[in-house]
Symmetry: C2
DNA sequence: CCCAATTCCGTTATCGTTTGCGAATCAGTT
DNA sequence: AACTGATTCGCAAACGATAACGGAATTGGG
């Protein structure tokens, strides 16, 4: 595997080029205080010697690593994968690299990862989609690196920067679509209510929509899944075989929503004629099933991109006008619901 | 954002604990050569002072960063997301972190990213899914860090470690399934033939299967897409409206395959009765459409995991018995083809 | 109770850069 | 020719750890 005799350092280049290491450092870093002819000579010997600056040493000396940490629940989920792509694109644009960590939403793992990232001296940290507990806040407070939350927020810390959408309102809007279609028997396939990021607020939105329209919240029309396809399939099967089955389902993420559609079809019901289904997130899958899934289009890529951009502002001490941003979402109404229109929220 | 007065170093801890920094370093690194009582005292003052070891300084001194670089085409693709999850899990298990970079399969970007990762002194490098050119080989050769390829291989460098599957054979097997179903008009929706990783070999497998069974390769039954859903939809529409339309389609990835199914349905054809479809990869989507998609199950997670494991062996100088591994794939026959059976290859 | 073998632990040299400070060079003005 | 203000550039001190080396303390056997 091509062992090079020894690593060549800035000092070697300096000696070879007949200048000091300070000068080499200057040309490497684009410092203008170096005569063009000198710069040229240095650049030349750098090329000839195949010198590659050591970013670790640079990091020690400059106290900057141009690296940011990203803690994410699960990269293999379409939602977070897309979000990460937004992060990485902006990071790349600003010449940062990202250290990616999967937390599986386990608190202990999250804390451990954050600790590790801080040890690695990341210039900033992006924390996605987990609940922010007191222990998180302790670590955050004990560090001076900027930290921004994405696709989540901290309901206890008013000042913690974040980028996400208004989950409650979006869920309310989605439910309202079904109500306005004329449905009065609307089921919910939700997530764990202990999940303060998705499960609870989306349930809350569903509840508020019903209340506002004077519809009762009936427990037998509510099932809580685990966000996965089969969970949606199973839950819908239960809901739709009931005596007085709902004629519409609000499913709080697309993967489960597609499961719900298939459950309906398996039971011989037509979507949307017999049962309307609306999902949430607008992952690519929503566009790759028949009937096309109506859903709440969450700007996943943008959440990542905006969060990363915000982080760069913190890292470079740029002025910040808005450090807590709620991005717009869109209702993407397709074939799994009756009406067709598009709203913005 | 909680500015701490000043960073506390190993030296501060040493002074506070009444020992030398060497001793502190020893307890931090779990070196056994330190008396239990001393260790306890040091650990205590570490806790009290909130000392956090600086991994950058450690990296400089020890020449190890416990970080590996991962260059991947696109994290937002289900295939690579799952693969990355495998990588990260194993990395985490061995206490490595990963720096993730999206290359979009652009050669220049790949080279730039690899260069950056080497500057950051990663202990190892995982290169996924792009073509390995001479320029890649140049950089690889000029560095002493172990590099392993995943989901690709280097056909010019016999010794470069890799982990992938036998693309040609798998494509051949998939095509053969259709032949054995009795089809003799089998279309292909492929990728760019200039793609040496997926496009070409999977086309090659299709071709070989036909040849072996004495079937002609007819150009009008071949379309080349871009791996995306809509491309599959469009290509299938063209293929299936022809005068003498194929009765079966081998589609070289699942996303396009699902598009093909929808195209068939849009044309009023039933799958699999009127047209059989078999895909490739077995992304979650294959399991979330109706009819369920027959496909070649590629062990994406395992490719990542095994590649990362192999890399750890290189990084820790463990003995290596096999440095080029072809993982097993499986034919996952479901409802989009007629026969039902499972083979291994 | 002494000496050798262990165990512990401190000294010090590095690791490869960045960076503040001051010296040296160079023009342009008088 | 002397003076001044920029430009350039070198020196050397950090940056925060690791690790080789050797000295001191502890232990055990005879």
């Amino acid at each position: 595997m091509g062992k090079k005799k020894e690593t060549i350092t800035i000092y070697d280049v300096a000696r070879e080029a007949g200048v000091s290491m300070a000068t080499v450092s200057r040309v490497v870093n684009g410092n203008p205080n170096v005569k063009p002819v000198t710069r040229k000579k240095v650049l030349e010997t750098i090329r000839n010697m195949g010198y590659r600056p050591n970013a670790v040493a640079r990091g020690l000396a400059s106290k900057k690593t141009t690296t940011v940490g990203v803690v994410i629940p699960d990269i293999s989920s379409a939602f977070f994968a897309e979000l990460t792509r937004g992060i990485e694109d902006i990071a790349n644009m600003y010449h940062y690299n990202i250290i990616l960590c999967n937390s599986d939403l386990k608190k202990e793992k999250e804390l451990r990862l954050i600790e590790t990232l801080l040890e690695k001296q990341v210039d900033g940290l992006l924390f996605l989609g987990g609940e922010v507990t007191d222990e998180h806040r302790d670590i955050f407070a004990g560090s001076s690196v900027p930290i921004v939350l994405a696709a989540t927020y901290d309901d206890e810390d008013e000042s913690r920067p974040y980028v996400t959408i208004d989950q409650v309102q979006a869920a309310k809007d989605a439910t309202s679509v079904l109500i306005e279609e004329g449905h009065d028997k609307i089921g919910l396939i939700g997530g764990p209510l202990t999940d303060p990021i998705l499960g609870y607020p989306r349930y809350q939105g569903y509840k508020e929509a019903l209340e506002e329209k004077g519809l009762p919240l009936r427990e037998e029309w509510v099932r809580l899944g685990d966000y996965r396809y089969h969970s949606g399939l199973q839950s819908a099967k239960e809901l739709l075989t009931g005596d007085e089955a709902p004629t519409a389902l609000f499913v709080i993420n697309d993967e489960m929503a597609v499961g719900a559609i298939h459950a309906a079809q398996d039971l011989g019901k037509k979507v949307p004629d017999d049962v309307s289904v609306i999902g949430f997130d607008n992952i690519p899958l929503a566009d790759q099933v028949r009937p096309l899934l109506s859903t709440v289009a969450v700007p996943m890529y943008d959440i990542g991109a905006v969060a990363m951009r915000l982080l760069t502002k913190y890292m470079n001490d740029e002025p910040i006008q808005e450090n807590q941003v709620l991005l717009e979402y869109r209702l993407e109404l397709a074939d799994s619901t009756l009406t067709k229109e598009t709203q913005t929220g």
